[in-house]
């Protein structure tokens, strides 16, 4: 035991590294290998047939996959931007409130506790064309005289999914941005006002730079599990009608478990992993940059 001793941080991080290697990294290596085989669950021996990059080439020429991929990127981009904007608005509204801030903050956290699967289900219920709250309300208000087929029409279903996604994740942004607003020193804002800035200028050039790192924390946290949109879509439309709301993740699940084409599904899964990693690294670097900027200024 004498001689070489591992350094303390290495020893402390070892359990985490072991668990993650065993449950995440090794299985991913296995799936990387199997993405180069025509592996089917029903025929185990196909795991040993090596077909090179044929799965990937098939995907590259597969129109359905690219449509689903593009739809996923569009959904994430639109959702993240809207969540950011609405979250910012919500945080500003709550920060302005003179009374009852504690209870408002608590209510704001409400959607965070909902499991994504539950979010999907409750919005499926509310957007139901026959008995849903949305259609009932629209009809009662006389805005429409016939039932709107929210989850049956492809474009409307996309909007419904987007709504569910935004409802469930805006609170992450709102809460973190609010934390930033509350942690912000008062003097710069007052100084800006005295110097004759308009409210918009005060916000743009004084408040916003201060709360930016908080917004990026929210973005980073959010991008860690962008894939939970899978749960929502799975239960709301399951990729339907006729694949009009298919996302990368539902397509992977369908290829793997319904069609039992594991090799192909693993190759697709690698595209989705790449997508998640790109989102996370992008926001993480923004966060690091915002952090150093703040450190230099404070």
């Amino acid at each position: 035991m004498k001689g070489w001793r591992p350094s303390p941080p290495l020893l402390l991080l070892l359990p985490a590294v072991i668990v993650l290697a065993a449950v995440v990294v090794l299985p991913l290596l296995l799936s990387l290998y199997s993405s180069f085989t025509p592996f089917r669950l029903t025929r185990p021996e196909t795991l040993w047939v090596f077909i090179g990059a044929r799965n990937y080439l098939n995907i590259l020429s597969n129109g359905d996959f690219w449509i689903a991929f593009a739809r996923t990127v569009v959904l994430l981009t639109v959702a993240l931007n809207l969540e950011m904007l609405i979250g910012l608005g919500l945080a500003l509204l709550v920060e302005k409130a003179s009374r009852g801030q504690r209870i408002l903050r608590t209510i704001m956290m409400f959607p965070m506790m909902f499991s994504p699967i539950l979010v999907g289900f409750q919005f499926k219920f509310m957007f139901n064309d026959n008995i849903g709250l949305v259609n009932n309300a629209l009809q009662a208000l006389g805005l429409t005289d016939r039932a709107i087929p929210w989850l049956i029409d492809g474009n409307l279903a996309f909007i419904a999914i987007l709504t569910a996604e935004i409802w469930s994740s805006t609170s992450v942004f709102a809460i973190l941005i609010l934390a930033g607003l509350l942690a912000m020193p008062r003097e710069p804002v007052e100084a800006a006002r005295v110097d004759g800035c308009t409210p918009w200028q005060t916000f743009r050039y004084v408040t916003w730079p201060f709360i930016m790192p908080f917004a990026f924390i929210a973005m980073t946290i959010r991008s860690l599990d962008v894939a939970r949109a899978y749960d929502i879509v799975k239960i709301m439309t399951d990729g339907g009608p006729a694949g009009r709301t298919e996302l990368v993740w539902t397509l992977v699940a369908r290829t793997a478990y319904s069609d039992a084409r594991m090799g192909m599904a693993n190759a697709m899964a690698y595209f989705s992993i790449l997508l998640s990693i790109l989102f996370t690294v992008y926001f993480y670097r923004k966060l690091a940059a915002a952090r150093t900027q703040i450190a230099a200024e404070w």
Binding site: S7, P8, P9, L10, L12, L13, P15, A16, V19, L20, A22, V23, V24, P27, L28, L90, L93, A97, R105, T106, I107, M108, F110, M112, M113, S115, P116, L118, V119, F121, Q122, F123, F125, M126, A140, L176, A179, P213, F216, I217, T220, L224, A227, R228, Y230, K234, A253, M262, N266, A269, S272, I273, S276, I277, L287, A290, R291, T292, I294, W298
Partner: protein
Amino acid sequence: MDQNSLHRVRNKALGIAHGVGLFLAMLVICLPGIWIVLSSLRPTVEIMAKPPVWIPQQLSLDAYIAMFSGIGKGGIPVLDYFRNSLIISVTSTVIAIAIGMAGGYAFARYRFRAKSAMFLGLMLTRTVPGIALSLPLFFVFARLGIIDTHFGLILVYVALNVPFTIWLIDGFFRQVPKDLAEAAQIDGCTRWQAFWQVEFPLAGPGIASAGIFAFLTSWNEFALASQLTRSINSKTLPVGLLDYTAEFTIDWRGMCALAVVMIIPALTLTFIVQKHLVGGLTSGAVKG
């Protein structure tokens, strides 16, 4: 009108607009939840009624009674699901916190090579979509024979929670001044004692909230659980929710009741930790 009163009117209008905006925002946030609770208490006839019945005529706990009365009487094995969820979530949380505390402490207190690369690497393991991870895990677990067991799901959830737990706990340890532990060490504590008697109690509330966050993640997880569980041996509540959906029909009332059962523990726990949670997430941002 002179400028003074004009200004007063404008301020008042802005105040009212602010109040209305706030109220509407909160309404949108709360409405889905309220609607679910309400629907779970109403008879199916009323949920299905056309034209809709807005004001509930009769409220009852029938849905809950039916749900708990077991298979065959319109119920689902909700107690089994609840037990599975509880065992899996609690065990995986405890293990994840133990591992996360070690890791978080290492990041907060030591300098070592490739620290930020290591941190990013840990975070990236979290980004792997559950459904993508489920494919190889399904295969490996089937081979090992741990599919549809508590052990398998606990293992997965520990791995799922460790990165984020490290992030949170790192933040909480940073908030505890280094000098305190050093003072304790000068007074004769070992580093081990200094940790447990000084730093751990101070970071305690934060660690507890990291634990609750991990608990919620396991409690709510669906993508992996839906593939790695099969029967009442290990099915969790989110997977059990699908029991209420048939090919073309959905038992809305029963589903609402199960949703309420699922949300209550999560609701209670989040209220307890909300303050610490935000502090832990942001401390790293401000202090670097």
